[in-house]
Symmetry: C2
DNA sequence: CCGTCTACTTGATATATGTCAAACCCATTC
DNA sequence: GAATGGGTTTGACATATATCAAGTAGACGG
């Protein structure tokens, strides 16, 4: 791990407030690895041996049951994933695989738990982080339970639109089938949902999205900070 | 608040490890109130002024969007609710209403945050609690995304069955329409799902449930600790 | 430049779930 | 004991979504 990567990790809210010596001890015990795409990093049900930090690339969190599979989230740098399992010393609830070539830091869970027991800055940061994660999942549930697939898509596109600084043209950075799964629908249904948004000025060709009139789309999407705002 | 109630609250994992003086100071600033059924205790979007602790009764957490409403969870004594909003000092993501006559303790959020800043036992307990809550919502999402409504119902009934100590007859302690909403379906659909479980030995008359053969039902439900186990 | 692969799309169809209206069943009240 | 009212059930129907099968398009490697 080079110095700039260490700095990036240190800058994460979760690590920012901890004592230097504890952070360094955490880093000393860590492993860094580069993974090719489509590698399963962890499997649900396994004990959580490491807290993962993604430095570059992209990782999909997914869950399975009875031969069905669903994408739960896509994680992008720089951030940690599967924090709750590490804290609780409980089995992973989700599996993770790389979507692209990715660089991942592995922090032994025992080290994390040990340091969280002695470092109050760290444990306070964890409280904030977990509260945020919790709220994120609740928002996701609300999206799923209160909206149809077309409404979910409309809101997803609006979010991407604002991430592209409001530019009317932007790219999808994930495969459509992953987007579909994340939003709880099939790829075929996503295709049709995209078509259904055409009257609202949405054109998608390949990975290129064009939103003619965001207000028009918003009239359908009715975005709500209590569902769609990643902060708050 | 009487002494036995204070003891019950103190026994909650979240409060168990904090210093006596901090717990007492938290309690001194608290309010206790009895509410009749169907009272809206908090509304989503409002700033989170209090951490709530339910002492007796039952509270429904629900969310709304675009004139739709969905039950997110039912909270029963003794436990806290809307912890994450209090910690983050962020608006509630869910509303809450009493389902029955309920006794609720209100802890001012500023007090909670202030004490969590100085009491390490409390902040560590919060980490564990929030990690648990997070995992709870993730499990709920998996249930929603990976299962059909009949499968969700089958698993719900198996869970109630084991809560009734494996007794083949037990009572539903919530209205069916709330159960339906919690599981992401309409009351009509729930009615039909119940019928669909008849071949698996499930009979429901009013609030009485009879499960002839739990193994038979489990062959359909395929319960999974990574979805259905409230612990782990 | 051509084949190959994989994601994506499309159409036809099936299934799941929602909606609406009416009937029903209790429980409560007057 | 009749009337009221809310929750539940049922049936008929509409809509949303999934499935299956085929075709298309783009990316990649030879």
């Amino acid at each position: 791990m080079n110095e700039s990567e260490t700095t990036d990790i240190r800058a994460l809210p979760i690590f920012a407030e901890m004592a230097d010596e504890n952070f360094e001890s955490l880093m000393r015990g860590s492993y860094v690895q580069n993974f090719p795409p489509q590698i399963e990093l962890i499997s649900e049900g396994e004990p959580s041996d490491f807290l993962h930090v993604i430095i570059s690339g992209a990782v999909e969190l997914f869950a399975s049951w009875n031969d069905r599979e669903s994408t739960m989230a896509i994680v992008r740098p720089v951030s940690t994933f599967i924090l709750a399992a590490t804290i609780k010393d409980a089995p992973y609830l989700m599996s993770a695989r790389t979507l692209e070539k990715s660089r991942i830091v592995l922090l032994p869970s025992t080290d994390v738990r040990q340091i969280y027991d002695i470092d109050n800055g760290f444990s306070r940061a964890l409280v904030t982080e977990l509260a945020q994660c919790y709220r994120g999942v609740v928002k996701n549930s609300k999206d799923l339970k209160l909206r149809t697939s077309i409404e979910r898509l409309a809101n997803y596109l609006l979010k991407q639109h604002s991430r592209a600084n409001g530019n009317c043209a932007f790219e999808l950075n994930i495969e459509k089938r992953k987007i579909a799964s994340q939003m709880g629908m099939t790829p075929e249904n996503l295709s049709r949902a995209i078509k259904a948004l055409k009257p609202y000025g949405v054109t998608v060709t390949g990975t290129n999205v064009h939103i003619a009139d965001a207000d028009d789309l918003a009239s359908l999407a009715k975005p709500d900070p209590l569902i769609d705002d990643p902060l708050s």
